[in-house]
Amino acid sequence: MTILAKHAAQRVVYEELHSHGVDVQFDSVLSPTEGMLNGRKTILLGTNNYLGLTFDPDCISEAIEATRSQGTGTTGSRVANGTYGSHIKLERALAEFYGREHAMVFSTGYQANLGVLSTLVGRGDHLLLDADSHASIYDGSRLGHSEVIRFRHNNPDDLYKRLRRLAGQPGDRLIVVEGIYSMLGDTAPLKEIAAVKRETGAYLLVDEAHSLGVLGEKGRGLAEAAGVEADVDFIVGTFSKSLGSVGGFCVSDSPDFDVLRLVCRPYMFTASLPPGVVASTLQALSKLQSEPALRANLMHNARRLYDGLQAMGFETGPEANPIIAVAMPNQETAVAFWKLLLESGLYLNLAIPPATPTDVCLLRTSVSAAHTLQQIDTALATFADVGRRLGFLDSQKRRAGGVA
C-alpha cells in the first residue's frame, strides 16, 4: 500500500496499455512526416504538425542563431528577468497577425488556458464551457474561483438556455469554445454561439489551438473562417502545433489587457520561453502568413485521407479537417488495430476514454501539409489492409454512419 494506491484502477489500465507497447518511444524523428520506431521507418500521422514546419531550415537557423546569441534559456519568469526583446517582438507579431491591440505569450498552450481562464473570471462570475473541452480548459476553470457550468457539446441552444437561467444574477459570463476539437476534428458552430453571446451580453473566448494556420483565408482560425472575429473577445492558442515549437498565447482588444501580466499566476510564476523557441516561432508565424500554399496542401491532404477512409466504410468524425478520427467498436479492437498499423509502418494516436468524448475508442490521425500524396495513399492502403486482416471493414460498411 503506497500513497498512490488511490490510483489503482488507472494503474491497471496503464499496465495493460504498456504491455501492448502503446507508450511509443521514437528512436529518432527524421522529418515532419517520418520517424524511426523500433528500427523501422514509420509514417507519422498523429503529431499535430499541421504545417510541417518542425524541420523548416529557416525556423531551425533562426533558433540556432538566437540560441548562440542569447543562450539556451532565460532562467526566469517574464515578470523578473525573463522578458527579452524577442518576447515582445513575438507578442507584437501575434497582435498584428490577429489585428488585435494586445498579445501575451505563455510558456505552453496548457498554461495559456490555465492563466487566462483562471484570471478573466473570478468569484461571482460564470464560466460556460463546452462539455467536450480540452483538459487545459477544465483545469483552468478549476484554478480560478468562478462558477463553472458545462453546456452540451456544440449546442448553442443548450448554451443559451444556461445563460438564460443566470438572468438576474450578478457577475460576468465567459463562454469558452474551441476552433477545432482535438479528438473528433469537428468545429464549433461559432456563428450561432456568437449570436448567443451578443444576445446575452456574455464574453466569448475561442481556443484556436488546432485551427491556427489551418482555418480561415489568412490562417487565423475558426473565428476568421466563420466571419465572427469582431464577436470574439479573447483568442487563445498554442505554438506547439502549426507553428512547430512550444508555447501559448492570448490576444485581445480589451483595453486593460496588460493587467493580466500582474494577476495571471501561470504567466508570472514560470520561466519564460527560451530565445531559440521564440525565434523559431516568429519565423513559423511569418511562414504561415507568407506561404498560403501550406494551408492549401494541408486541406488537400485532409480531404484525401477523409474521403478515402469514408469510402472504405470507416466511421469518422463529421468534417474533413486535419484531425480525422476513426471510431473503433471497443478498446480491444482499437489496440489490435493500432498495433497492426504500427507494425505496418504507420503511427497515429490511440485515444481511449476518458480522453475521448462519449466514451468512444478512436484511432486519431492528424494530417500535415508536409505529407506527400504517396504517404497519404500508403496510410489509406495500410488502413485497408489492417481492416481486412481484422475482418473489420465488412461490418463497418454495413453500419455506415458518423461518429458524432
Binding site: A131, S141, R142, E147, V148, I149, R150, R152, K161, R162, R165, L166, P353, P354, T358, D359
Partner: protein, 98 residues
C-alpha cells in the same frame, strides 16, 4: 422529460419536496439506465448504480433539463449520494425562485 412532469401531475403527487424530487430522480435514473432502480437518500450514484463518468454527465444534464437549472461543476463534484443530489436540486431551485 416533460412526460415525467406530466405523470407526476396526473398522479397528483404531494408531500415534502424531497419526496417529489426523489420520485422524479428515480424516474430519470430509470430512463438513463434503461432499467428500474430502487434508490434511497444513501444510494451512491457511482458505486451503487454502476454509472460511468459519461453516464453521470448524461444523467446530470437530464436532471438539469427537467428542473431548468444548471448545477455548477464544483457542486457536481460534491454530489455522491442521491440525498446529496436532492439537496443540490432543492438549493438551486430555491435560488431560482428568489
Amino acid at each position: 422529460m416533460r412526460q415525467i412532469r406530466q405523470l407526476a401531475l396526473v398522479e397528483n403527487k404531494v408531500g415534502p419536496p424531497e419526496k417529489v424530487i426523489r420520485d422524479d430522480i428515480s424516474t430519470i435514473f430509470e430512463q438513463v439506465l434503461g432499467h428500474p432502480v430502487n434508490i434511497s437518500d444513501r444510494t451512491d450514484i457511482v458505486e451503487d448504480l454502476g454509472m460511468d463518468s459519461l453516464g453521470v454527465m448524461n444523467f446530470v444534464m437530464a436532471i438539469e433539463d427537467f428542473y431548468d437549472i444548471s448545477i455548477p461543476l464544483d457542486r457536481i463534484a460534491q454530489i455522491q449520494t442521491v440525498g446529496d443530489l436532492i439537496h443540490a436540486v432543492e438549493d438551486l431551485r430555491s435560488g431560482t425562485q428568489q
